[in-house]
Symmetry: C2
Subunit: 562 residues, 2 copies
Amino acid sequence: MEVKENVPNGELSTRVHVLDGPTNPMVTPLLTDLYQFTMAYAYWKAGKHHERAVFDLYFRKNPFGGEYTIFAGLEECIRFIANFKLTAEEISFIRESLPSSCEDGFYDYLRGIDCSDVEVYSVSEGSVVFPKVPLLRIEGPIAVVQLLETPFVNLVNYPSLVATNAARHRFVAGKSKMLLEFGLRRAQGPDGGIGASKYCYIGGFDATSNVAAGRLFGIPLRGTHSHAFVSSFMSPDEIIDKSLHSRDGSSICEDFVSLVQTWLSKIQWSNSLRGVFGETNQSELAAFMSYALAFPNTFLALVDTYDVIRSGIPNFCAVALALSDLGYKAVGIRLDSGDLAYLSCEARKFFLTIEKEFGMSGFGKMSITASNDLNEETLDALNKQGHEVDAFGIGTNLVTCYAQAALGCVFKLVEINNQPRIKLSEDVSKVSIPCKKRCYRLHGKEGYPLVDIITGEKEPSPKVGERILCRHPFNESKRAYVVPQRVEELLKCYWPGNSGKPREDLPPLKEIRERCIKQLEQMRPDHMRRLNPTPYKVSVSGKLYDFIHFLWLNEAPVGELQ
Amino acid sequence: MEVKENVPNGELSTRVHVLDGPTNPMVTPLLTDLYQFTMAYAYWKAGKHHERAVFDLYFRKNPFGGEYTIFAGLEECIRFIANFKLTAEEISFIRESLPSSCEDGFYDYLRGIDCSDVEVYSVSEGSVVFPKVPLLRIEGPIAVVQLLETPFVNLVNYPSLVATNAARHRFVAGKSKMLLEFGLRRAQGPDGGIGASKYCYIGGFDATSNVAAGRLFGIPLRGTHSHAFVSSFMSPDEIIDKSLHSRDGSSICEDFVSLVQTWLSKIQWSNSLRGVFGETNQSELAAFMSYALAFPNTFLALVDTYDVIRSGIPNFCAVALALSDLGYKAVGIRLDSGDLAYLSCEARKFFLTIEKEFGMSGFGKMSITASNDLNEETLDALNKQGHEVDAFGIGTNLVTCYAQAALGCVFKLVEINNQPRIKLSEDVSKVSIPCKKRCYRLHGKEGYPLVDIITGEKEPSPKVGERILCRHPFNESKRAYVVPQRVEELLKCYWPGNSGKPREDLPPLKEIRERCIKQLEQMRPDHMRRLNPTPYKVSVSGKLYDFIHFLWLNEAPVGELQ
């Protein structure tokens, strides 16, 4: 899977440059809108298909009411174009789908196209990004680049959205908590699930329940058992093989069931816990014992099938204590319903009581996982209430991006045949920034990024220590001088086409994840806070500003008040 | 693709019974949560893996604030289990993912499993369905059925959600409008897009822009051109080949560009339109002419790149009139921004004026497509304002189910070894209905469905003309006698396993779509309205009611007030 070979540090040149196709084999050149093919035909018919066009892919507004976005999906875009080629069968389907009047020469043309003369410049995957700044700049023959629009936007939109969502969940949960992505069953389709697992990992999650994603991407996997497992048992009498070797193999416990029952009774009648619970649920107890016999080293129990305090936790503790007798250390519990703040605190108290009562050092630190319909708001509320949860399993709200289910990435023509193009709109936020451009992030003294600036492609780049004017692209009164302490060029060449430029390597997933986490840490805190975050500034150079407004006036019709 | 052969009516027995795998090749037995494998191991270790379990797949609440849901995703579930088999490579990945203490025998067991002894009973795909009634009942060895949980829920959740969303959009738009699904670029991943196209078609959409979906499922395709196409042109001078044959091939127009320009000038200075517009945008005019030269039979122009009224529509009309001179009939326009109600009415007026002024019969009926961020609410608002739109292109809000991005399907154990199981919860709406069950829809005199009733599997089925008591499953005071005029059994055998029962055929997509449209039409209107719809009643038999509550009391711990 990995695009990069494991090579000694620095020896970039020896890396493998053959790219696999997209993760999902359904990502083919037909995964596009029909109008890309009708336009390609019209370009071809007009003899315009070879004209060199530049398109920017960007979004206009950060999602989830925040002021930042994580860029993701680049590797899949590059794999897609690296393998872009229409098969004979695909071409004959296109022929069926277009009017019969379309000329044969077009299909010969389609047979020949690939992305060898397309260039793709992109922000690095896992970067923190902002509205209006191109995430990708795609240059090439207009008919070919047009065909890439839909798949590129599709391959960037959801990955960036869900990675951002994951980053926001991480922000609220805090660094010390374990975050588990549990969303596969509620995701929007099978690769909605697989994509969610991959891009939530980039955004700062620690593991997933999704086995396919674990296999495809090497993401750590987590999972224990469900309510069905618990209710599939009737009573401890069902357990036939009751024996369990001690952890070091030195002894064998012939009747683990009795050992657990002895512990349960000890807990029940202990000084500190007497009266806390009566008879616990026996099907639950049987399930826990069975699970422990299967996984004595990694015993983690879902304790809310019947009653957390009066059944689940005592049953869990009895099994954990029996395991402890044999040298095993139980992992902890999962809560999947009810008042998670309250229940986690009660569970912690129970564990601490056991630690004290039975001198079980460390028992109080038993891990508590919570997992019921969690989202940013509920995590925030839990923090405010106070809780004892160590790990959060988050599904539906995370993977479907329930709070905002789409990111509005667009793909706009900004230049053709070296002529700049602008897309006007009555809504200023929808006016595109014309020209082939370069983008920089300017960092200040404290190391924070200060502002992103977009310039014309041929303008000199901003220099460290030199004052530069940064202008709001559409508001003439908003401008500021900046003296950058570090200048970072954002768009790098990930697909050089025929330009002869070196190609940036696609880093492995872990590196992307590390970049994301690091960049998030470097942001000024007021951009990151959940309530009323400060917008990060995106600007254009003075020269580009003037040019945008010259074009705008040129293109816009003069109205007539009536 | 189609599972069914084209065979003469009634000859069911000759139909092909070999099923292809899932549409997305990423849907493999590993597309599941890790805990399904850890549970499978624990069942195996306890010798319980062969125990016969019955699970119900259902949802608890209709989406989008409505009172109905469309069931979709069945075909993919059946294709999945028809091909369910773990490969050696998959098994070795599972081995790596589980603790090393897991015994080898388990992997031998995994090597042998398939779904030949699983039975699946299901509501027909495309049916109107309601909360609590099982959509699927899955029976089989508990370890195997457990592995199916995650993929089944994934394969049903989003398809049912998006089909419902499509049906709701159709309901607001009305039967006479053309509905086009344009969501691929904003969908949650590549097969979020492909799934959206398929399931929106089931829910009543007419066509998609998604070429891959058109090819996979035979869904009609639509698409013309984008703003980029318009702004890629500079002026009519660019057009080199200006000739166009007349439609019947009898003559050739050597300079279509001049013909259009002549028409533009005629419109501009006509009695009725003088002063409405001045100079139109020339790059737009060039784009329209080029598009018409490429597609003279299917000319449809996006008219809002510069100014709809003062440029787009006059330019379109000039090209349409020139085409008309050559015997071609233009299709119409698309509006993608601004006040769609107002602009569509203005466009209609313009077309009618052209019809009258130039005696162009039918020109006033030119098709108007609208496509800017539409959803149920905006369609409703357009209806209230009055509009002249003939076709709606709907993307983001439709395919991402922006208004509610997930359906909460669950998969609950209801019986094991012929013993009923109930999942309790402090939230009554989350208590599961135990036992292997049958489900019926009872229709009344007017043909409307009256109520769904769930009974124990061995209870006699409701009979036409015979009074039956229908009880709310959890509210003892809610009950009603019903005398059904038609009794429809909802769960049919789509995968017989070893039961020897005949297998229901998987119908082609068009039949599923027709069932959906027909069932929606048969519903009582008050269940369907957008504002405060009446809930459709879902009930249980008296016998099942008593049994649920007997189990409930048995399982629930008695509380102690302190």
